[in-house]
């Protein structure tokens, strides 16, 4: 079935899908309905990421709520020159998810109650632990081009919220080595994905 191309210029009033940057500017002025619209556009991505790290749905919703409240409160401090709106919000999301993992650790209930991760994963289980099924084929392929060690270090820290010390314990390598691997791995990913500033 062929698609007929039509060129219709809609009047401004129908152009209700504003860019995320425009929405953030409105939000900085206190516009609550723009906040609702931005939430509609990004909440599934934010929640998907947080759920990936935390696994627990109730906690993930709490953290998602914290993320959007931070967006509401700090919208006027968002600087489009430093990156897109989704980059800003996804970075906040990951940081808050990791903060929650760490605070769960502090209260010692993460393994028994929440099961956020298998803390004593031995090396043989690592390959399974870092299995991620990504929707995005390009990112999947880029990850495959890392060395096995780089990929494990990057995925354990990003998708599981491991600190570099935990990555070191899990992979049984010195912390300094992990830092290097994380950097080398991220640089390789950057180059594979063609990210430039």
């Amino acid at each position: 079935m062929s698609k007929i191309e039509t060129k219709v210029t809609l009047p401004q009033v129908f152009d209700d899908k504003k860019s995320q940057q425009d929405l953030l500017e409105d939000i900085a002025l206190g516009n609550q309905s723009s906040f609702g619209e931005l939430y509609d556009q990004l909440s599934s991505k934010v929640f998907g990421l947080i759920l990936k790290v935390l696994r627990d749905r109730a906690q993930s919703e709490e953290v998602t709520q914290e993320v959007f409240i931070e967006v509401w409160q700090n919208a006027s401090n968002y600087n489009p020159q430093k990156g897109s709106a989704s980059t800003w919000i996804m970075t906040i999301s990951h940081r808050k998810a990791v903060d929650r993992v760490r605070s769960s650790q502090a209260s010692h209930d993460r393994d028994t109650k929440i099961g956020i991760r298998d803390y004593v994963a031995d090396y043989n289980n690592v390959e399974e632990t870092v299995q991620v099924n990504l929707e995005n084929q390009k990112v999947n392929e880029a990850l495959q081009r890392l060395t096995e060690f780089q990929r494990q270090a990057v995925t354990l820290s990003y998708y599981k919220g491991y600190s570099h010390k935990e990555v070191a314990e899990t992979l049984k390598v010195p912390v300094g080595t992990v830092k290097t691997r994380l950097r080398d791995g991220m640089i390789r990913l950057r180059d594979e994905l063609g990210v430039t500033s």
């Binding site: 206190g30 919703e61 996804m90 990913l189 950057r190």
Partner: protein
């Protein structure tokens, strides 16, 4: 910056953007970052790369309740440090203490009765941390309520007043004459016995009370409720503690009164 120090700093960029550093290391890194343009540029690029890892995950829709909670929360959450050119924040109504009428003069005939005493104190609801509680209200209804709330908070004549709830905790009443509607936000209000309910009222200037719903468990959990019925000019919003299920006319003294003028 010495080359060795710069190398050490650069060695941390990957761990930094993946949020894998300890708090101490983050503080050190961010402080030192000011001295290395190379490290700053690398952090920007690697942060964007990390975000691509995040965006590659399958999106998952959170519950509708979460949006309702958030919309309610932003309606009462001040924003931080607006830039100078956006200092006029139209929707953020500053609560005027002068307008607070927590206790209104006893012109309404049923105000004279003593305040209900002996209600156990407990945290019922907090606006700041709205816990993810499983409610029994459907998503559609939640959405309708959130929309009703939005129609008040987005009205140009929207006003808010904070007041103390006499049985404990505080409340914010937000209203709009344009929308002919009002909502009450509750902060740490006292839990009441299971055979009692908080009941909401619109009270006209002549003292006639119109029932405006009882506070549901969902509302207590999320911390707000839009009043039933239409608000009329000069109405006072009131809350009383009544027998479970509510009554036609108030039988106890109000624990909260706010004039919408």
């Amino acid at each position: 910056m010495s080359d060795i120090k710069n190398d050490n700093l650069l060695n941390l960029t990957g761990a930094y953007v993946l949020h894998a550093l300890s708090q101490d290391e983050v503080e050190y890194f961010e402080k030192e970052l000011a001295n290395s343009e190379q490290a700053r540029n690398e952090v920007v690029e690697l942060s964007d790369t990390a975000v691509m890892l995040g965006l590659a995950i399958e999106p998952v829709k959170p519950s509708d309740k979460l949006k309702a909670n958030l919309m309610a929360q932003v309606a009462v959450t001040p924003q931080l440090e607006a830039k100078p050119e956006v200092s006029a924040v139209p929707n953020l109504i500053v609560v005027s203490e002068a307008k607070t009428k927590a206790t209104v003069e006893a012109k309404k005939r049923w105000f004279q009765k003593p305040i209900l005493a002996g209600i156990p104190v407990a945290i019922a609801a907090s606006m700041i941390v709205v816990a993810a509680v499983s409610g029994n209200v459907s998503g559609v209804q939640q959405q309708t309520e959130a929309n009703n709330l939005a129609s008040i908070s987005e009205a140009s004549d929207n006003q808010k007043v904070n007041a103390t709830v006499q049985t404990g905790g505080t409340a914010t009443v937000m209203w709009s004459e344009e929308a002919k509607s009002s909502a009450v936000f509750l902060h740490d209000i006292a839990e009441i016995p299971s055979d009692k309910d908080y009941e909401l009222w619109y009270i006209s200037p002549d003292g006639t009370a119109r029932a405006a719903g009882i506070l549901s468990e969902d509302s207590l959990n999320r911390g707000w409720q839009v009043l039933d019925g239409q608000m009329q000019e000069g109405d006072t919003v009131g809350v009383t503690v009544e027998q479970a299920g509510g009554v036609q006319q108030p039988t106890t003294s109000p624990v909260l009164l706010v004039e919408t003028v």
